[in-house]
Symmetry: D2
Amino acid sequence: MAGSSFGTIFQISTWGESHGAALGVVVDGCPAGLPLEAADIQAYLDRRKPGSSAITTQRRETDQVELLSGIFDGRTTGTPISMMIRNTSQRSADYGNLADCYRPGHADYTFDAKYGFRDYRGGGRSSGRETAGRVAGGAVAAKLLREFGITLAAYTTAIGPVEIDRSRFDLQTARMTPTGMPDPDASAAAEAYLEDCMRHYDSAGGVIECVIDGVPAGLGDPVFEKLDANLSKALMSIGAVKAVEIGDGTAVAVRQGSQNNDPFHMEAGQVVKTSNHAGGILGGISDASPIVLRAYVKPTPSIFSPQRTVNRQGEDIELSIKGRHDPVIVPRAVVVVETMAALTIADALLLNASARLDNLQKIYGR
Amino acid sequence: MAGSSFGTIFQISTWGESHGAALGVVVDGCPAGLPLEAADIQAYLDRRKPGSSAITTQRRETDQVELLSGIFDGRTTGTPISMMIRNTSQRSADYGNLADCYRPGHADYTFDAKYGFRDYRGGGRSSGRETAGRVAGGAVAAKLLREFGITLAAYTTAIGPVEIDRSRFDLQTARMTPTGMPDPDASAAAEAYLEDCMRHYDSAGGVIECVIDGVPAGLGDPVFEKLDANLSKALMSIGAVKAVEIGDGTAVAVRQGSQNNDPFHMEAGQVVKTSNHAGGILGGISDASPIVLRAYVKPTPSIFSPQRTVNRQGEDIELSIKGRHDPVIVPRAVVVVETMAALTIADALLLNASARLDNLQKIYGR
Amino acid sequence: MAGSSFGTIFQISTWGESHGAALGVVVDGCPAGLPLEAADIQAYLDRRKPGSSAITTQRRETDQVELLSGIFDGRTTGTPISMMIRNTSQRSADYGNLADCYRPGHADYTFDAKYGFRDYRGGGRSSGRETAGRVAGGAVAAKLLREFGITLAAYTTAIGPVEIDRSRFDLQTARMTPTGMPDPDASAAAEAYLEDCMRHYDSAGGVIECVIDGVPAGLGDPVFEKLDANLSKALMSIGAVKAVEIGDGTAVAVRQGSQNNDPFHMEAGQVVKTSNHAGGILGGISDASPIVLRAYVKPTPSIFSPQRTVNRQGEDIELSIKGRHDPVIVPRAVVVVETMAALTIADALLLNASARLDNLQKIYGR
Amino acid sequence: MAGSSFGTIFQISTWGESHGAALGVVVDGCPAGLPLEAADIQAYLDRRKPGSSAITTQRRETDQVELLSGIFDGRTTGTPISMMIRNTSQRSADYGNLADCYRPGHADYTFDAKYGFRDYRGGGRSSGRETAGRVAGGAVAAKLLREFGITLAAYTTAIGPVEIDRSRFDLQTARMTPTGMPDPDASAAAEAYLEDCMRHYDSAGGVIECVIDGVPAGLGDPVFEKLDANLSKALMSIGAVKAVEIGDGTAVAVRQGSQNNDPFHMEAGQVVKTSNHAGGILGGISDASPIVLRAYVKPTPSIFSPQRTVNRQGEDIELSIKGRHDPVIVPRAVVVVETMAALTIADALLLNASARLDNLQKIYGR
């Protein structure tokens, strides 16, 4: 499969560069009959938009989605849903001086090494703008999942050294703070930290968590298509993510089995776990507990202090980056994590439909 | 793609259960002309074998590979390479009492939820024995990569709280210690820790690192098929892995951009990086620095102390696990991490061959 | 893989309905460095356009392609090439009366059976307009193939009972006749036949042949991904095609081996065949002879004479189709056959690049 | 996807060469809960076996299947079903003289062109023995389909110039005649024809038809994954097949729309067609009528009369083939056609399960 598609049955294919005419996504394999309108998509794209706070880029990205196919009478028809977002804010002059040099922490050098040349305007295909297509596609997946009682919530748990206090957790807050943190105090502290970074022409990283509720037991496959393996790929495919955790993640390495195993017990006739160190997945298959994921995001590589690097001619140079750059990627990546998770779960939901003879009998009536 | 295949061009499909007649793998898409013999595979399977130390299961798994197709005159023919390992050590009586109950930390419950029933003998398809097929397939990938100067080395960096001291790092040591640690002192400490775990009927987790040298710049694709995304899936698809890191991994979240960016400079006419926080991958594409991965492994869920759980009838019960179980999964998973990484890199190497017009011109002579 | 994508490495994904806002295609996996501009695509779309003759629909489809991504400085970048064609000629009133009934020979009933409802405007996704995306994508493939000396030529060999006389074959003629026939006399006879069909409110079928020259030996794979198997799928996926032949096709069934085998001999140091009954493919792999394909196309199902059918309410009714319909699909399908073949060969060309160790050594320099 | 796999969800991967140790297949994606035992598979393999008549090879192929995984308590577990057939009748000496020359009509030359060398023993991977894996895998698909009332029947309709008389059609007869013809008189005539071919050191081709009953409306997808497109690929992937027809096939090209359209009408509350020129598929989607396919098979290329060809050294030579070869491929290919069709329908059945929101609601209970 070519590199711009994700998913086996519920599949998206994204396209577009930072400074091209437009970006977009084709969603194929979405079941017929799902109520869907542009507003469902726009709501997710709006969460990806830079805010009006001091800590985000000044670039004006309105990112209005245009729904081009696959919907009739307000419902999906089962055929490809094509969505496009026109680029309206390309100021190529900002980037012209970067045509020739390899920015540290960016994909300039590796694109040239792979393809022989590259669309250097604003990072081209390696720009964070590429995620607009993912978010639009993932918004469809999220809408589908809600039909089955599955909901996703991503939020920021750390920016640089500032971590949230889980006793103050409030998801609504995360939708309002410029940091995406569900804790207003931590968010304020993080904003102060970011302003300090900016003053020193520097940038910050952070951590995004995503919790998925309502996933029925049985999604995901043994061996290579484990649900956590696909979620891991989904999150690690987001630029700047350098580590992914499921459940308790790295912490399990220092535990003993007696501490880490989640005992099962019966509750209201259901098998449930009394703890959730596993993060909702056992043997690669969902166990009906909440699925818990974490993505660790590196600091924005575009910093305004001078950096040592080389140019295409193979000369050592000093680079000063100009233009518009967020001091931290994390807040705008929250919705990307959430929608990538949604795409993964939606695909697993569809694939699992044919995993059992009795499932098929329910459909085909034998 | 069904759940038991991995890779797009260089593709493996594994099959087999812990207590079935045999396990195996079909490797499809391996280029023709690669010298290959059973000994190349056996060397990797032997690394997966339980050792003779106190800290591994007493189960005797000789795991002799049988090469059934795809080789002629000592070289691969370009057609599928089928390999089989007969199961010789099934003592089903050990597991019979588990047919009916859901072991904490295992996939018993989720398999039943997904499929309606399961092959409960020794965990069936969810057993660690499933990895024998991966290792056999990955051994072919590793052989192919060596033809291009690409080498992989995985080893244990931590077991429970015991970490290696990198100043004592010696890869040959890692191949000899029962822990897979490249530091004999840490290994001895880890063995002591594991014996203590066993005395308390408990188990331990740990960390496996893999370094891949010699990867040319340009492997991997932008967006979804990023090399790190696929490596992350590869490692997370190994049972018991709960977190994956690329390069500095989780540590990047607390860094500033000026600390985390790897400056480029020229060295002997080559573009190189003066540091490698990124772990050899930028924008999802290899940058010719060593690729560095880490997998965090949970403690063996099979512990001998009594545990609370439920049975298939929906009753709360107390479970006492018997049988043969390693107190730690890590040492035997080292070669699994290494071969899964090899499979991922081999596939990227093949996919990249057609990424540029001038590559194709080298082959087709225009 | 979802149903709107074609190809493994060189992959297209099409989208769009007959009467939606637009149709389009995303080409992923095209090698970087290919010179490409909108005119390359437009030339192929123009061949799909209805002509000005009496035998084509009056619908005005200008089908102007918009290139949205994947091109920089006049060359492909290796990232997805998105192309869009706005629909400008929707006259939905023409089709409104068909919302409720199942046209014989059309997909109305099967879409409803599959999806529960359908976009009935002009056939929606099952309309022949869907092929615009294929043609745009296939134009890129054809451009790539020309770089390697591979050229494709499709043309009409029969319409209804009128067959071409191969002694008058002239490919340039085929590009000028309204029938797509490479024989002006046969074309005139076919036009007369079609006008007769139209007078009787009826329609006609026909045969399209495609010859592919310059394909190097070695493309295609043994077993399931045989080159002829994929070409067969490519052609049969075009609506209205009901039979596909490779080489001498159905005629081989009545031959004896001594008549059907193509002897090899040496010519100017090359292995060549003295005949080409096989149509350029042996064992699923190209043999460097011209590849010869034939697609048999059914008569346009939309005819203006009254037909018996049923409606969505399950009532027997009589249907009279109005609107704009070609009396024969064949002439406009010629370029669709040619571009589908181009897509198949391009994908095989790319896949074959990594089939041999020495191919890879040419690229990676070992 | 590598070349030895077929199907998206219900997927088989075959392996093995004519004169290797064994051949086999891995079936992945078969739903859990299907009753399955070795006898189900063996019955199909036995139909592929050479008979005891004068018109088949003397090679003794017992082809006993060994079921290695994926079955527990007599039912499929949802995990890969691995099946192996040991090669017991390799007489390599028969083929040794062919190591060096390119047999006309065979894949010797194209394998060498593709891979640089080949396993020349008995044709290696390009031998008809490769189909044993398909038949074993397809037997599982056929068993699954029977659970849903879907049955397949393939048979010979022509050998050389001898065609069946459909007024004498009897499917049971087809299972008993050495030709696979459902008409005893035609079969006797075909045997006489074949004996005549053999006397002249020549061989014959023929036609195989397959009818699939009970397919519910709605299987298959619009555009590229049309059911007929996949069936066409399935049949054309069988070595020696040179043309494929759906429904009335090539005959439609000379029809008018009024003759070729199948009128719908209501019958016992069901939408049915009064004729079936379309062969059970409209717009790529099944319409609940019988699906009708035809494969045209070339004469066996291995003939015993001397032939002109070239050797690996690029010299013109005369070749005399020895060994064991059927004078016609058709009778033994009947079950291959049937099982390839079964695999295609089974995959479409599984894929269609998630095509509609209400299907998923039946499974997930919302």
